[in-house]
Point group: C3
Chain length 199, copies 3
Amino acid sequence: MTLINILDLIGTFVFAISGTLAASEKRFDIFGALFVASVTAVGGGTTRDMMLGATPVFWMIDTNYLLIISLAVSFTVLFKEKVAQLRKTLFLFDTMGLGVFTFIGLEKALLHDISPAIGVIMGTFTAVLGGIIRDTLCNEVPLIFRDEIYATACIVGCLVFIGFSFLGVSALICTWSCIGTVIGIRLIAIKYKIGLPKI
Amino acid sequence: MTLINILDLIGTFVFAISGTLAASEKRFDIFGALFVASVTAVGGGTTRDMMLGATPVFWMIDTNYLLIISLAVSFTVLFKEKVAQLRKTLFLFDTMGLGVFTFIGLEKALLHDISPAIGVIMGTFTAVLGGIIRDTLCNEVPLIFRDEIYATACIVGCLVFIGFSFLGVSALICTWSCIGTVIGIRLIAIKYKIGLPKI
Amino acid sequence: MTLINILDLIGTFVFAISGTLAASEKRFDIFGALFVASVTAVGGGTTRDMMLGATPVFWMIDTNYLLIISLAVSFTVLFKEKVAQLRKTLFLFDTMGLGVFTFIGLEKALLHDISPAIGVIMGTFTAVLGGIIRDTLCNEVPLIFRDEIYATACIVGCLVFIGFSFLGVSALICTWSCIGTVIGIRLIAIKYKIGLPKI
């Protein structure tokens, strides 16, 4: 198991928590929570795999994802007050998940001989689509269409990866620059309350 | 044509009626009704097939589904009052559809060499996703996230199938125990108004 | 590049403008606009390709679509007032897009050995699903379920294509009769305010 695998599972765990919290605000039952948590955690990667034709999709082959999501939902339901207090920590892990998911989506697209420009979209898609479906299922306008620099961080992270690859930088540095860029931009945007212009 | 095929088509018919009724409450036109009915009836299986890579998806190969859905929409539109009076009968057929769809989804996943744990999800998905998309399209929070033991019946039905298979029970008994469990749990939950705990 | 290709790109451009305008009404930011524009423009074809198993989906192979959508969003954001004044012109191009998308979807399905009856659905799906997802993402009930003869035009256009093909009419005439029928029905329905009966 590589470091990326571990970070991927941590990201899945935290995304699933965010889905469970959204379900809890809507007073869903446990099945609703499991469903929304799953969609938040693996919805982006699932759509990516279906669009690429990389089927059966990733979590159908590796049951770790299912296990991690079930753990995240149980944990959140059992320790709801605790989880609420951890919002700052969760935010950090969520941001890390965003970076790792972006890299994984970009890499998977490139491995399928997709052009780098489309790879940027697939990386961003992998990271943000789960949250978009979560909000749609909860009958809300997707938060990230309005409020924050979120997808933008993913897009820039992908561009850094592609630029560095093009310049012949080693894969390891490309990978971590991509993930680091996503995390960095997101943290700076939150700290200084930077958003995209409304149209 | 096996008994399962026939029950599958009856389930499709009844799910399509439920979609038409939802469309009718929102005052959609006939195309809206056809679309919502189709999504309710085959949306779960379509997503399952796309995630498995079993493409073209099932109803694109077997036009019976399309025919049955058109019949269900026409029937509901023409005999709206009658259909409204039949709610109890419809509920019984809907429950039967739930059981059959669950079994079909589980079996298809297992035939694609998916692990039993993921098979449970695919069975449940096949049965409940159509209703979730129906409610989302109608701009409602999906009913089954909140109100009833619905998906839970599917999950337990799948577990019964897998448990019995593991014990070497004949395929026929596995199949009908799965379908029977889904129907039984659902009927008991409705009769005694049992729901899942809210989170 | 054939005339159909060019019309396809023009249709994509206009559909993306309609997505951008919907995003703008909801006060989304630029990423939200790009996302909604993309979904409106290529969401129907993407779902079609995933259901057919024609993966990676079309816009992942041909980056022109991505480019056109970006241009449409930039254009709409920069010249918002101008675009608002062009509504009549946009409507004409939108109708043309509807016709071309219908034909492309139908043709692609037939090339995958799908039966003509299902081909009608795939053609209609390709043309209308993007708008349905757009409205759902914007937390609105899909407009075309209620208000206008829209999908019906696509269905009749497909039937004309299939009827003419069956009669041995040349492919060129089949194609343009299909596109012309969609455009004609839509224009007449708008001019005389004809809608489908509500159910």
